[in-house]
Subunit: 298 residues, 2 copies
């Protein structure tokens, strides 16, 4: 049984924290939202003690939104966890961040006597709740070993991508490039189908059985069919994640026109007021542009 702090109790972090409780660990949850923390406390979790040193965590699992929040959680001079962790304990960092940032965090952790695992996650809230995530991880053997109990509990598959931080985040960016492009393409294709007077349910059925299908098409197109944009994963993720793709590609001199076209569509969706809607709402950007009517609207 390990002592674990999970920072960030959104749909992914909350599921992971609950799975860790279920696996018999002592789990402290932390979130800026009192509501989210209460949800975790109601399912057997603990709040972080006033004196952080009392938590004495073996593992910090950091499931926040981005690089800036990750840095604050770990190394803020006042609130950062690094100062309260025993030497040899491990940071498991799950946010999607630039590979270079992950390397920098690993360096700082090493200088503080801590282990660091670059460990972006994939699979969505439903898999997080079942302990069935995919983890794209890189880091030292010692970091993998120290994090093994956590990884066993939260993941169905752990991809070991190498002995240094950065490779996990690079793999996640490759995945996000594809995932983001596929969602935007799904929206574009459904809008084209509406413009050609095709029956959308039949389109989803035919495409799902054809060479044009993708994991994202099969997962997100039903949201459009149902006119249900309750956020499972929100539009706001994509300007951030595709921004990272664009930045690291730019640093390598690689043009990424597909990722950039998708980025523009998600930005347009956010600017139109759908930042917190399900990312399938990118379809509305197309529908508005061409005056098309989607299911459940107009």
């Amino acid at each position: 049984m390990a002592r674990i702090v999970v920072v960030g109790l959104g749909s992914m972090g909350l599921g992971m924290a609950r799975v860790l409780v279920g696996a018999g660990h002592e789990v402290f949850g932390q979130d800026i939202s009192a509501e989210r923390l209460d949800a975790f406390l109601a399912s057997g979790g603990k709040a972080v003690p006033d004196n952080r040193a009392d938590a004495a965590p073996d593992v910090i699992v950091c499931v926040v939104l981005n690089a800036q929040q990750t840095e604050e959680v770990l190394f803020d001079p006042e609130s950062g966890w690094a100062g309260h962790m025993a030497p040899g304990s491990v940071i498991v960092s799950c946010a999607t961040v630039p590979p270079g940032f992950a390397c920098e965090m690993e360096d700082r952790a090493t200088r503080a006597g801590l282990l660091y695992l670059d460990a972006p996650i994939s699979g969505g809230a439903a898999k997080a709740a079942k302990g069935a995530l995919s983890v794209m991880a890189s880091g030292s053997e010692a970091a993998f070993a120290k994090a093994a109990g956590v990884l066993d509990a939260v993941a169905e598959t752990v991809h070991n991508l190498g002995p240094k931080a950065g490779m996990g985040s690079a793999m996640k960016s490759v995945n996000q490039l594809l995932a983001g492009v596929h969602i935007a393409a799904m929206g574009e294709a459904l809008a084209l189908a509406v413009s050609q007077n095709l029956d959308l349910r039949q389109v989803v059925e035919v495409v799902s059985a054809s060479a044009g299908t993708s994991w994202m098409f099969e997962n997100r197109a039903p949201h459009v069919l149902d006119g249900d944009y309750t956020p499972r994963s929100s539009v706001s993720i994509w300007p951030k994640d595709l921004g990272i793709v664009s930045d690291i590609a730019g640093g390598a001199g690689l043009p990424v026109p597909m990722a950039r076209a998708a980025l523009e569509q998600f930005k347009a969706a956010a600017m139109a007021g759908d930042a917190q809607a399900d990312d399938a709402a990118v379809t509305r950007v197309y529908a508005r542009a061409a005056g098309l009517s989607l299911p459940g609207e107009g």
Copy 2:
């Protein structure tokens, strides 16, 4: 047993023609390439008789490249088949064409006393050879009925998309939008992975099991891994098919930035000399731009 003429004995048409022979039909093959025709004759097919009226086909299956070739095959004043078909026989048109063109062909066929099935196909050469294609078909009940023997033989799934030509072609365009975008995204993602020093085999393994996967990624990425650009489906398909997407979307006032970005990448691949290479060669456009080395090259 029907008398069938298959026009266009490329990788799709040849497979379909052979399957029809295997199903016991009398099948006449036609192609501008003597080599392709010989391949068909060697597998039990017949050549079109000098006097076309002697073929007296119940069905013409037209598996040519585009709208222009389709129109010539059917309605050319000298060589078109329409003048040699008995009233009530059926044209099964499989090329990817604009929906409006399919409607026009149906009108002309109707005026000539013929039936017309708008019947684009999907599945590739391997499925064509096994009689396991998907057909996205629309047309009159009478056209479906007259074509039933052919459809039974060549297809695993026949999607009936409505009683008028045009819907089949519209569905095909929606599928091609997705398929083309997914291939370009595959190339972009693999190039990004190379630029980040990821192991490409591991990338294909991880992505194939993650939310970033697509049918095209899983089908085409191995060609890049193997450095094998032997054409199963060539780059040259995509400027044509994504051009149709762009045209019909434009006609509906719908911006299609994803399709247009992919179109540009395939045009760049064709201009760089890869028009007849496998469409996975779009990855080379990215690699060249960033000076990256792909498997089997450099």
